[in-house]
Amino acid sequence: MSGFYVRNFNGKKDLEKVHDLYKSCLSNYIHFYRDPKTIEHFTHFPSVKKTIYVAVSDDEEYGSDGKVLGFIVITIVNENGYTKGIVRDLCSVNETVSGCLIKKALDYCDQEGADIVAVASFPDEKEKIFKKSEGWFEANPYLFMGKVASPLHILRLLLKSKFELLKIFPNGILFVIDNESFHVKTGKRCVLVEVAKGNVANADFSVKMSNKVLSKIVFRVANPYIEYLRRKIKIKGLMSTPSILQSLINKCRILEILTSLRLPEMLYLAIIDVL
């Protein structure tokens, strides 16, 4: 990559390019979806003092306009008797661009008389940009909390790609979560998840757990193997199995399926996402 420069955001002209930037940078992270409408909405954040910068490549192959390599939204607010500079949204292709945008944000905050600056950034960039020696410290008085609202939707999405693991159970698995039952079985090259009604004893195994345990697994707080040993997950064979060993192997396979219910670890959350 050759050089880049930082300039003010140019409204609708830059919007598509910023959207492309998000698409390429956030593809490996769990993140709240950002379409051009949402990005435009973010740029209209209500604040008396606000500025938006873009880092633009000066590479000739992209013409005179250049490719957008970074995007930052900074607002100045007065709270609790002092002025806070808050980086609402930050996205960039690498830490060099991030570092440059943050430097620009610090200059802007200093110019506007901010007493404190707060930034949320990519999880893997933190040590390279926010150095303790430069006065940065990690601090957040808030946290996000999550819970599974619909086990049906979670099972459908997270088991979608587990066809190979599930096809060894021809009659499927019955998931009993709190008082609801879901029948997971394989169809023609796809995984089917349905709400189980009436006679549901035709599945190979039943897996019983609470919604709290399912939420813990989904958010990577609990390990399904340990939860099984703690009797928080109960796995029961509903059909007669040829041997104890076979039953044990099948239980291990089910625990492997449960492990795949965990969401990927990398989460990208900007301050603007916290509504």
């Binding site: 956030l26 490996n28 993140h31 709240f32 979806y33 409408k37 909405h41 209209h44 954040f45 209500p46 709270e79 609790n80 008797g81 002092y82 002025t83 610090l106 901010a114 007493d115 404190i116 600056v117 707060a118 949320a120 950034s121 999880p123 933190k126 430069e134 006065g135 940065w136 410290f137 990690e138 601090a139 957040n140 008085p141 808030y142 946290l143 996000f144 909390m145 999550g146 819970k147 599974v148 609202a149 619909s150 939707h153 979670i154 999405l157 979608k160 790609s161 709290k212 939420s215 813990k216 989904v218 958010f219 707080v221 969401l263 990927p264 990398m266 989460l267 301050i271 916290v274 509504l275």
Partner: protein, 271 residues
Amino acid sequence: MTRIRVEVWCTMQKRIPKEFSLRSYRRGEEQKIVDFLNLCYGTWGDLDKWRWKNVQYPTFEKDYTTIAEMNKEIVGYGALFLRNLHVPSLGTLHTVTLGDAAVHPKLRRRGLYTSLREVRLSIANSKGAALILVHNEKESIVHKMNKKRGYIEIHYPVYIKVLNPRSVLKAELRDIIKKRKELRDFMEGMNIVVELKRKHTKEKPINGIQITMDEKSLPLLAKIRTTRKTRGILLLFALISGRLKIRFRPTGLLVRKLIKGSLKFVRFLCA
């Protein structure tokens, strides 16, 4: 979909106390909502902020705001935000974030908050939300309640840099004093000087109370690094190790207040 929503409102109406009624937001009452939120939160924000968060949000629908009414006055409010979460290599999860829940200070502990939460959860279900998210202050009552309700904590890093330590220190101390009645009473009518420790300066005589602090210890006061209990312990350590100094000149008023305070403490021990 409309029919489902009407059913949600009707079912919820049966569960809440009779004097209250639940409904969604109506055009024209934005300012009333903002005034109500400012009454409940202290400082919540202005009309522009509410519009940006709700009406102008690309996925907004009228039913995403729930209002509790009593005698045609707003006594409860709650909002929800429907957003899609992109999960790499898997696809999209519909999520609902619950936010801005508020109940009139005089009408708390009557089950109104629970009703507001339940109606929003029912709407979330009717919208096919797979995950419910909430954003809470650490160690707050709502945070503790949500933990009990089975919500899982998701930490995200925020980095802070203090550009002007003096004003942050002053504002945070002012905030601490404002929030605690005992401190407010104690400090009334006294001259308090807040200073940041500087090297090679001779200590000048003071008139009143002087609080001197090491710049490195500033995050302790900025109420952003730790929970309240831990912060208390850290402040005590800072006091012992000399990073935080409190000097005072024993004026008549201060002595009187100290005697009063110690008598209260003795009375508390004897009770």
